[in-house]
Symmetry: C2
Subunit: 197 residues, 2 copies
DNA sequence: AACTAAACTGACCGCTCGGTCAGTTTACCG
DNA sequence: CGGTAAACTGACCGAGCGGTCAGTTTAGTT
């Protein structure tokens, strides 16, 4: 049983993470300042440092925390079973919906996938986890002979990239077409390619 | 006929752009300082400002300048004609080779595709140009009935995302498999999907 | 060699940001 | 209430950055 202090602490941490996520969505990961986060959360900058030890700490915790929920959703979609096409359909749909509902998270997610600079950031580890999840899905389908015999990780990356960029495109459009249409498009693109059959 | 002064000026500008590209590749777009660029180019910071009017000016010019050459290569690959599969094969191959040979450019390219923050950056315009180029390619193929009847821009985005993320993956690997293998994989993924046929 | 204009330099300025901490407010308990 | 400990605040500090410019070096001309 958590003490009252722990409950309050958790509540504050969550509020700060939520604020951080909104600000990252607005300004981009690299341009977020601690003052921004404090303002967004309606507290003083000093208070932030009572709950997190540095700017990086806030951003990293924000990332991993949000990601856990996303990860769980995809896990569900995979575990529900069925043919590979059905699984892909659910996974694609789950991702599109999740990104659509939580654009702040999606923008954070974009940052996770990209890193390639001097520092191997923790962000990237989070992205790799997601790829690993999809890779297992592909491997299972290959065992059942539903998917071509190519490196599973390559396939997972290809699948994921498509979902991500279509989501990005939808975010840029003022009035994107119905989500179901893009979900179907991505599912078909992944499974059958774009050649007229 | 350019004067001697103009030649020297162009040479200096090119040297600074080259330096900027290398530093961006190492540190990432947002963390590059003007001092970094000056050091890399072997000149003083003040000298940089004789040729460019601001940090943003350097980065923007570096981006568009490098991109023009890339754009031309893809244009060639498209215009050489043939069936859609052949064209895709050439385009994918050209991109993979170009990215492999110029990793600094690729890292710059990654930054172009991503923006989604407060400011609609010029970076993004450059990326849109590339997508527009691919979109035209897809539309031509649709006219000939070689490609399914889906929004051409969506297809272009999907195609491009795959090439990009596979390239990214290759950069992370110490010993990636032969480029031709990935080129074939991407081509097949795009045209036929991943379902076992 | 003497002169000059153009090219170049790097110390400097103003500003922003991450992080600190002395002081203030709040909340709880006897 | 009164007292005290915990929570909170925001002015402040030092570091680092973009951009400037007075001074120095270089290169061309006579």
């Amino acid at each position: 049983m958590p003490t009252k202090e722990e409950v309050v602490e958790q509540f504050r941490c969550q509020a700060i993470r939520d604020a951080a996520m909104r600000v990252v969505a607005r300004k981009g990961y690299d341009h977020v300042t601690v003052q921004d986060i404090a303002d967004e959360a309606g507290i003083a900058k000093g208070t932030v440092y009572l709950y997190f030890k540095s700017r990086e700490d806030i951003l990293e915790k924000t990332m991993t925390f949000s990601f856990d929920e996303f990860h769980a959703r995809i896990h569900e979609a995979i575990e529900a079973g069925g043919t590979f096409v059905e699984i892909v359909e659910r996974v694609v749909h789950a991702q599109l919906v999740y990104f659509e509902e939580r654009q702040e998270f999606f923008r954070l997610y974009l940052v996770m996938a990209e890193p390639l600079g001097e520092r191997r950031l923790k962000k990237h580890a989070v992205y790799r986890t997601h790829i690993a999840q999809l890779t297992k899905m592909v491997e299972a389908a290959q065992q059942k002979g539903e998917v071509r015999d190519e490196p599973a990780e390559r396939i997972a990356i290809a699948v994921n990239s498509t979902v991500r960029d279509i989501t990005l495109q939808r975010l840029h459009e003022k009035a994107p077409r119905p989500l179901a249409a893009d979900a179907a498009f991505v599912r078909d693109y992944i499974c059958r390619g774009i050649a007229r059959s």
